[in-house]
Point group: C2
Chain length 340, copies 2
DNA sequence: TCGCTTTATGACATCGATGACATTTGTTAT
DNA sequence: ATAACAAATGTCATCGATGTCATAAAGCGA
């Protein structure tokens, strides 16, 4: 790596002069400047960002650990966070954190050091991975959690009310006359799966209806493929449901695909609703009724929390959870139960 | 900002000891370690990444400028690059570059300095934005281009053969008996749009068929919404096509949706093929026949080029273009022309 | 040409953390 | 109890760039 000294030597000037050429070119005589520039070109010099920053005062990008960037949920947040960072004039460095790697500790360490990251953002399910959070505390790193399943007193978090949203969806289906409603759960490791499921039951309880039989709950994992199996299971029941609430949009899209294959019309024969308002929700046919999470709002809040942490660093021991609102988006995939 | 010295003072030890607690905790007596950790907690200390890196030797993350992270194409590359970076032990910092901002120069400058980035990756259409490339050269920044429309002698690039792939798709449709094939073009600013379109024509020429009438070319922009309009246009023709080749998968998904709405079966009444093998291609019904780009291969090559640049920095003036292979993926959305 | 102001350049300290080496403290074996 | 060695901690220099202040060179009026 060539340094400012190499350049200064070749150009026959002092390092400071090279620095001036870089930062305040007008303060250097034209002839000298050209010599220095020539030297820089010849050595393919580019300044060391760390040194510069050390001198000028620290900046640091926000780190994002992603488990599965292909998942609609994570990529949606990823985008929202990028936007929020841009608005706030911050930068984000992304690292893949693939679950059960034996060397995950070393990788996180390396990320904090070499990735020049101090503040981390954790999405589900990482935000519930206790050993990771412990490591971060040891390292003096900070983190903001998005949708953790339980509040952690050490880290601020931003959440939405999954249970209430799921309940709202079911109540909406009730209002369309559905009473036999299937639910495809999410990945068992996500607290959201449990919350959404319990929201379903809560809706039944609140209406004074008997809880749905267990056959109406099929297990999924938030992914398209598993969604297909789950949909097949539900639709093969002797008495299939008239509506299916999938734990996320990708799963709902799978349900729609299976329904089409079986010649069922949506929403005529089957109503399908998803959760997340992922891009896929408006790209499939018919477009999915779903719960829209305020991704951008949440992302902004997260970035803001990181900032706040920087400022009032003295006032420690004060972390909180922010609840953000959701919205039921009614599209084409849901309708009144057929009279047949 | 609290430094290691503040901590050392409060804990009553030397800075070096604090450093040890951080980096080799085992070499510090338990009692001391706890005192230091308490001090760190009390001061909400976190180490300065710049200083650490300066001392340890320079690392720098690779910068990625994204115009539209919501686009399937960009997000697909984004993911592939993340994976490739992980494999190579590098980090990636992402910045949104929203087209025509008046202050884009300042933002790029800031990205290079504060974002601690030296090497940049440019995707279409940024990789063809001449003023940006010029700025990068001035700043001594390096860049690798993905799928630029023309080779730039200053930057290495990685490309695929869009024209040949498009031709291959059309020849495949020919082989199924289609002769009346509609094409929805991509965004006019992307060279890929032009190449894919000319691949279509090339296929006709190669077969000695008359070139398709202009009514069979509808203009799109790679996005779902515009794809709907274009599909409506094509399918409303007095003599509609029996197959539609959309310039990307999102557009193809839109075609599928419109076809469903009109009661056309796929591939019975209409074959639909896309391009990119985006996630949506296998999430819609029926799953789309498409061209798979070797995203990961390309990403690996890009990261490797960045590395190579670091090593043989002396040997400048040597940049090249790498052509990567593509593959036709046949799924459910294409079939023989109906005998009607 | 001399003294004085500007302009151009250089020497040195500094940012915060860590490596190399020095020193102190603790432990074990005799 | 003491040499001998290991463990724990400290001192100082260093990474690369830039701010501060000092110095050298250039410009300029009389």
């Amino acid at each position: 790596m060539t340094t400012i000294y190499d350049v200064s030597k070749l150009a026959g000037v002092s390092a400071k002069t090279v620095s001036r050429v870089l930062n305040e070119p007008d303060r250097v005589k034209a002839a000298t400047r050209e010599q220095v520039q020539a030297a820089m070109k010849a050595l393919d010099y580019s300044p060391n960002a760390s040194a510069r920053q050390l001198r000028l005062g620290g900046f640091s990008s926000i780190g994002l650990l992603l488990e599965d960037p292909a998942s609609g949920y994570q990529s949606r947040f990823h985008q929202a966070l990028l936007t929020a960072c841009m608005e706030a004039g911050k930068y984000m460095t992304v690292e893949l954190f693939e679950g059960v790697m034996p060397d995950w500790k070393a990788r996180v360490d390396r990320f904090l050091t070499e990735g020049r990251v101090r503040d981390l953002i954790l999405l589900p399910t990482l935000c519930d991975f206790a050993p990771l959070k412990e490591l971060l505390r040891e390292r003096g790193a900070r983190a903001v959690l998005i949708a953790p399943s339980v509040h952690d007193p050490h880290f601020p978090s931003v959440v939405m009310d999954d249970r209430a949203a799921a309940r709202q969806i079911i109540e909406y289906l009730f209002s369309l006359g559905h009473t036999r409603i299937g639910h495809i759960t999410g990945h068992p490791d996500h607290s959201a799966s449990i919350l959404r499921r319990s929201g379903v039951i809560e809706a039944y309880d609140a209406r004074g209806l008997p809880r749905p039989k267990s056959e109406l709950f099929a297990s999924g994992d938030f992914m398209f493929k598993k969604g297909i199996e789950a949909a097949e299971t539900l639709l093969s029941l002797p008495e299939p449901p008239t509506a299916i609430f999938a734990a996320n949009d990708e799963t709902a899209a799978a349900v729609a695909m299976v329904a089409h294959r079986r010649g069922l019309s949506i929403p005529g024969d089957l109503s399908v609703v998803g959760f997340d308002d992922a891009p896929i929700a408006s790209a499939v046919w018919p477009q999915l009724t779903t719960i829209a999470q305020p991704y951008l709002e949440m992302a902004r809040k997260v970035v803001h929390l990181v900032d706040a942490w920087d400022q009032q660093s003295t006032q420690s021991g004060f972390v909180s959870t922010y609840l953000t609102p959701h919205e039921l988006v009614i599209r084409e995939s849901s309708g009144p139960v057929s009279k047949a």
